[in-house]
């Protein structure tokens, strides 16, 4: 077994090197230590004495989406406060999402939070949950179907309304030719956002599809587009991570366009502050998660509902340079 020994030796050497270099060069700026220094102590206990209820959230998120991470953070914070056990699952395929809701019904949860990105696939199972006596709150997408399917309330942003807010803002900023960058072809919400921009924007709007799972490709596609059409004076991205890339592409193509974006993260907050990005439209995902869980608690405890049969809007909130300083810390900790 000579090669097995060789393997062990290689592994040993690897570990030694890893530990060795770890102890060697340290950075005196940035990194975890800086974050820890900045971190305040956070109290994290429940504030109520209701029984331990269980709430399940089932979303249409793909794996590793930073937006849904923020939604979860809000939901967990509310769950901790309300003495609730919080369960989360997700699938970007309608059929699988419906199956996940079914498993939550089987677990006899006390409340259910779902998204209706693919309403038809979800209809039967949502009605089934209500039949089983489980209150349902819809969040994010599905404001049109929420009431019809018998949900208590819908909490989220109307994508068309958000797009329209962007269109208005761009008109106010005197822009003439907008490029709307879609990073997921076939996503209904994305189409609605760009359509919303088109509704209210007084100049021309144009869509560009890019491959969202391949950042260098996003950059070069934008570079190509901005170089091909010099009349584009504003670029709107539909997700925070794409805004920084758009700004880079703009620089490299030598374009004068302004970069604006939907959604927020730490990078965008910093970019707003230094003026690389004009404005961001936040739909406050933290609020969507937090309010949904809190509302289920309120319903169980006090039979309260919110919205009076109409969607409760968490956005659009337009944030600019003036808000950036305050938002930066919140975005960094992943709650904005």
């Amino acid at each position: 077994m000579e090669s097995a020994n060789r393997g062990k030796r290689a592994l040993g050497a690897l570990l030694t090197v890893v530990i060795g270099v770890a102890l060697a060069g340290c950075s005196s700026t940035g990194g975890l230590r800086a974050e820890q220094r900045a971190k305040e102590a956070q109290a994290n206990g429940s504030a109520v004495d209701t029984p331990k209820w269980t709430v399940a959230m089932v979303t249409h998120a793909g794996a590793g989406d930073s937006f849904w991470d923020i939604v979860q953070k809000g939901a967990r914070q509310a769950a901790a406060k309300d003495n609730i056990t919080f369960l989360y699952s997700n699938s970007d395929q309608g059929k699988d999402q419906a199956q996940l809701v079914q498993t939550a019904i089987d677990q006899k949860v006390d409340g259910l939070v779902v998204t209706l990105a693919k309403p038809e696939a979800m209809k039967d199972v949502v009605l089934k949950a209500e039949k089983a006596g489980i209150p349902v709150v819809t969040i994010n997408s599905g404001s049109a179907q929420s009431k019809e399917y018998g949900a208590l309330a819908h909490i989220g942003q109307d994508e068309t309304v958000a797009g329209e807010a962007v269109g208005d803002e761009l008109t106010a900023r005197g822009r003439k030719h907008v490029l709307c960058v879609l990073h997921e072809q076939g996503n209904v919400g994305h189409e609605q956002r760009c359509a919303g921009v088109k509704n209210t924007f007084e100049g021309t709007t144009e869509n560009l599809y890019v491959n969202g799972t391949n950042m260098p490709d996003v950059q070069s596609a934008l570079q190509a587009k901005l170089a091909a059409d010099r009349s584009i004076d504003a670029v709107v991205t539909l997700g925070a991570p794409y805004a920084a890339t758009a700004a880079k592409a703009k620089d490299q193509a030598g374009s004068q366009a302004e970069v604006d974006t939907f959604d927020l993260n730490g990078q965008v907050a910093s970019a707003l502050e230094d003026g690389t990005i004009g404005f961001a439209v936040d739909q406050q995902p933290y609020l969507q998660g937090y309010e949904a869980v809190d509302l289920l608690w309120l319903y169980r405890y006090n039979a309260d509902v919110l919205g009076g049969g109409r969607p409760v809007l968490t956005g659009p909130q337009i944030v600019t340079k003036d808000d950036a300083a305050a938002l930066k810390d919140y975005a960094k900790r992943g709650t904005r």
């Binding site: 690897l14 005196s28 950059q219 880079k248 993260n265 730490g266």
Partner: protein, 340 residues
């Protein structure tokens, strides 16, 4: 190609026709002509920089993937391995508050170890590489997400742009230089260097013969003393090494890495290699071909944007162009073989 030196000298035309990348070159010219006619801005010098950048990010990975394919194997984990590599350097530097070069070094070791794992698993289990690397692909996809969430608390890494060593690392992996009107990314230099090294290895070294032999007929190769296992493990580590370069580019170019990225890119690398003349069955192909394949891909994906064709049809155009290029490639090769 090695057989060529033993064969009696033939006319230049015939020798050219027997090159694996010839079909791809013809395809590239065709794609170039189509977009030169269809898009005004396609021929601008600045556009060349953009196209070359798009081609280089695919091309850097297409080189080792082509070698691996010549050696008779696949690597489906190559796309996510790039992301893994970027995640490791970013998170290691951040969590240890270390100089980013430390993270870059650790990432190289980890990435090479994953390539080694692929190679060793292939040799030990005798399972098809499709299954082994599919397993690695799924495991890495999960690890990328799981570890990032566990360590960073969110699904993307923290920004390391304010840390020591970032500027010098960015200069090596993600800088760009301007020559006249043309803005050239450093990945283009990496790409050219990798193609040159791989071509030299394939055509001028014993290891190159081993690669052709391992892919052409592993049993026959083994019988004449070719270290097939070692060759294939080496090829997987070459894929890992290039994944490391691409991963560092991703990290230092975009500062923050998203853990879900990279899925699906493995197919782009394989597509580039196949367009470039590599046979799916192994034993035939070239590194230069993979570069031409990547260039076709870069021209097509960006040419559609330059031509300002209706974006609703983007994926259709892309697929049709790729299919046409490959068909043309196959036709030219058949003609070449008939002319021999």
């Amino acid at each position: 190609m090695t057989a060529d030196s033993l064969a009696p000298p033939r006319r230049l035309g015939h020798r050219l026709l027997s090159r694996p990348e010839l079909g791809a070159v013809v395809g590239a010219v065709a794609v170039f002509v189509v977009f030169s006619v269809a898009a005004d801005s396609f021929l601008r010098p600045a556009s060349l920089g953009t196209i070359l950048y798009a081609a280089s990010t695919i091309g850097i990975m297409a080189v080792p993937v082509a070698l691996l394919m010549i050696g008779g194997e696949f690597d489906l984990s190559a796309g996510v391995l790039v992301t893994s590599s970027a995640l490791v350097s970013s998170m290691f530097s951040y969590q240890m508050t270390a100089n980013v070069w430390v993270g870059v070094g650790v990432s190289l070791l980890v990435t090479l170890a994953i390539g080694f794992f692929n190679g060793i698993m292939l040799a030990r289990t005798k399972l098809p590489s499709f299954i082994i690397t599919l397993g690695t692909f799924l495991m890495l996809t999960g690890l990328n997400l799981g570890f990032t969430k566990l360590i960073d608390g969110t699904v993307s890494t923290k920004s390391i742009s304010d840390m020591e060593g970032f500027a010098s690392a960015r200069a090596l992996f993600a800088s760009h230089l301007t020559i006249g009107d043309v803005d050239l990314q450093v990945t283009i230099l990496w790409w050219i260097a990798l193609v040159a090294v791989a071509t030299w290895v394939l055509l001028r070294t014993r290891a190159g013969n081993w690669i052709f032999a391992s892919g052409g007929g592993p049993d026959a190769a083994r019988a004449v003393g070719v270290p097939v296992t070692r060759t294939k493990t080496g090829l997987y580590m070459a894929v890992a090494f290039c994944a490391w370069i691409s991963g560092q580019h991703l990290l230092f170019s975009f500062d923050v890495v998203q853990s879900g990225e990279g899925i699906g890119n493995e197919f782009l690398y394989i597509i580039a290699a196949v367009i470039g003349g590599c046979l799916m069955t192994g034993g035939y192909g070239s590194a230069i071909g993979s570069a031409v394949g990547a260039f076709i891909f870069g021209m097509t994906s960006k040419g559609i944007v330059y031509a300002e064709w209706n974006p609703d049809w983007f994926k259709f155009f892309l697929g049709a162009m790729l299919l046409l290029a490959t068909l043309l490639n196959a036709w030219v090769r058949k003609r070449a073989e008939a002319a021999k």
